[in-house]
């Protein structure tokens, strides 16, 4: 019970309405006006305007140009490659995330903290460096380069390299959502299930999975958003072959550099839409988790 309370900090915090009603925590009206004007002004200029600009620029030359930019063969092949990349990278990192969280949360072993730090490593690396490390291993001058060319296998400047770089940059997303949650939930429920004769798989499916399903979904959508939108790492390993090794963000870059602005923003608007859907799902899941937390801890 204490663990559940610790993970729901909002349960006892006051709402904005109550804070504004109390004399001790109420700011003068002009302070509120200044804070909101400055804060929301900054928000509008730096976050809202770039978002709106994507859609306005995309439709600047009308619907027909917009649609034409999306159904053009190179755009379609970029969309296909982006979907394929995410379809490989997300399940791989999902399986890894669950396995890592199970090992870290349900067992004690030496070097656990180091393992958690290593899992986070890809987050602290520049995407460009992430791409470079795969060129150094699989590229023509890389460790495996001569062997790969002898066997006529292409990884860098081909689809496998794009997938690998994407797997690398999205590596921690699901694991880092699951690890803290499963650590907070402890082992009691699973141990009870196993003691009562459930198999490992049954325990995971019937006990663990229902407990982590929202965090899992959350991790998956964040991982997916990054997998579809990754630019720097993929740019290094792609080789930019039109219609072959261009993902959507790379296609946006090519169109933009060719001064086809409306087309670039049309493809970009699909990615912006993906971002908005991601944020909507994220907000929905957070609200659910918050409500579930509030129900668990009586106030």
């Amino acid at each position: 019970m204490t663990a559940a309370a610790a993970t729901t900090p909002l349960a006892h915090s006051a709402s904005a309405r109550r804070l504004e009603a109390s004399l001790a925590t109420r700011d003068p009206g002009w302070v509120k006006a200044v804070v909101l004007t400055v804060g929301l002004g900054f928000f509008a200029v730096f976050l809202l305007m770039p978002l709106i600009a994507v859609f306005l620029e995309a439709f600047r030359k009308g619907w027909q140009t917009y649609l034409a930019a999306l159904v053009e063969p190179d755009a379609l092949s970029a969309i296909r490659l982006t979907l394929l990349t995410a379809a490989i990278a997300v399940p791989l990192n999902l399986v890894f995330g669950v396995a890592a969280a199970w090992a870290v949360a349900k067992f004690d072993f030496r070097g656990k903290q180091l393992l958690i730090s290593l899992i986070d490593l890809p987050f602290s690396v520049s995407p460009v460096v992430a791409g470079l490390i795969y060129v150094l291993v699989f590229g023509a001058q890389g460790w495996l380069g001569p062997w790969l060319s002898d066997h006529d296998i292409r990884i860098v400047f081909a689809v496998p390299g794009i997938v690998l770089a994407t797997v690398f940059v999205t590596f921690p997303f699901i694991a880092r959502e699951l690890i803290p949650l499963m650590q907070a939930q402890g082992r009691d429920e699973e141990e009870a299930a196993v003691t009562l004769g459930a198999s490992g798989w049954q325990t995971f499916r019937r006990v663990t999975l229902p407990n982590i399903k929202w965090a899992l979904l959350y991790g998956v959508i964040l991982c997916n958003a990054r997998a579809m939108g990754e630019f720097g790492a993929v740019s290094v390993v792609s080789g930019h072959i039109r219609g072959e090794t261009n993902t959507m963000p790379l296609h946006v870059e090519i169109l933009y550099n060719e001064y086809q602005f409306a087309a670039a923003f049309a493809v970009a608007s699909l990615l912006a839409l993906l971002a908005l859907v991601t944020l909507a799902v994220k907000t929905f899941i957070e609200r659910r988790a918050k409500r579930a937390g509030a129900e668990e801890t009586p106030t």
Binding site: L10, T203, Y256
Partner: protein
């Protein structure tokens, strides 16, 4: 020993840990070691020559300078925004709260071309700034703008939960003792927020140093003026100078790891602070 026995009630230890370590090694650790092994094999002179090249040094100055400045600007405005979101109710608050994470979700290339369109001399914002002598796009100022965009959620999202969790009793006590709101904020609230602000600053800075996609479109990429360090790695790669690229990458990695240590320390400090405060 008792701990060991209870932990083995659950199945799958060998499988889950084994898989985790194998996958981690294959995807992250082995490719990663390539950078350092390659860099250490190139000899000190060649390494030093690559990392201290005039153009590369100019890129460090821009990358680190703009990242620091962007993180500092975001710390101030991020705090204001977090305060507004936690302390006040206003129409559209939920929408604003949800959109704060936009830079995490929006692909960097999309942000890059959009910011460029806004700040170019015929853009919505650029058309007013350029006549006033403020050239943003295609110069160092453009780098700053892009780094502000990607860094903002780091500050808001580290400060916001601390502020939400902040026990109002402290403010009530301060008010009872006759402190003004400003004194209370300065002496009671701000010290509590300090670790979170520093953590957010460090996170935003670390992200900004490595950022590529949102910057290269708006930067103009003029040698010695507006080239960022990640772009120097790409430039070396395009010239098939793998050694040069590896050397610069290893410098960036050392910086990233140092920042990671600092951030871990700050986070430990934050949780200690909060633990002792309640």
């Amino acid at each position: 020993m008792g701990r060991l026995r209870t932990s083995r009630v659950l199945p799958g230890f060998g499988l889950s840990l084994g898989y985790t370590l194998a996958y981690l090694s294959l995807i992250v650790l082995i490719p990663f070691s390539a950078v350092f092994i390659r860099a250490s094999g190139m000899g000190w002179d060649a390494f030093w020559h690559a990392v201290s090249d005039e153009r590369v040094v100019a890129s460090y100055k821009l990358s680190f300078g703009a990242s620091l400045l962007a993180a500092a600007i975001n710390t101030v405005f991020g705090l204001v925004l977090a305060w507004g979101l936690v302390r006040y109710s206003f129409p559209g608050k939920k929408l604003v709260d949800a959109l704060i994470d936009l830079p995490f979700a929006l692909p960097t290339a999309v942000a890059g071309i959009s910011l460029t369109a806004l700040y170019a001399k015929n853009g919505w914002i650029g058309q007013y700034l350029e006549p006033a002598g403020l050239k943003i796009a295609f110069g160092p100022a453009g780098v700053l703008v892009a780094l502000i965009f990607i860094g903002l959620p780091f500050i808001v999202r580290t400060v916001q939960p601390i502020l939400e969790d902040f026990d109002t009793e402290f403010e009530e006590a301060a008010a009872t003792l006759g402190a003004s709101r400003w004194q209370t904020f300065q002496r009671v609230v701000l010290p509590t927020l300090l670790p979170a602000l520093l953590t957010g600053f460090a996170l935003a800075f670390a992200r900004a140093v490595g950022e590529y996609g949102s910057v290269i479109f708006i930067a103009g990429n003029i040698p010695m003026v507006s080239e960022i360090t990640p772009l120097m790695i790409i430039t070396k790669l395009e010239q098939y100078d793998y050694k040069g690229a590896t050397a610069i990458a290893s410098v960036m990695l050392v910086v990233s790891f140092s920042l990671l240590l600092v951030i871990n320390g700050l986070q430990a400090w934050t949780s200690r602070r909060l633990g002792s405060a309640t």
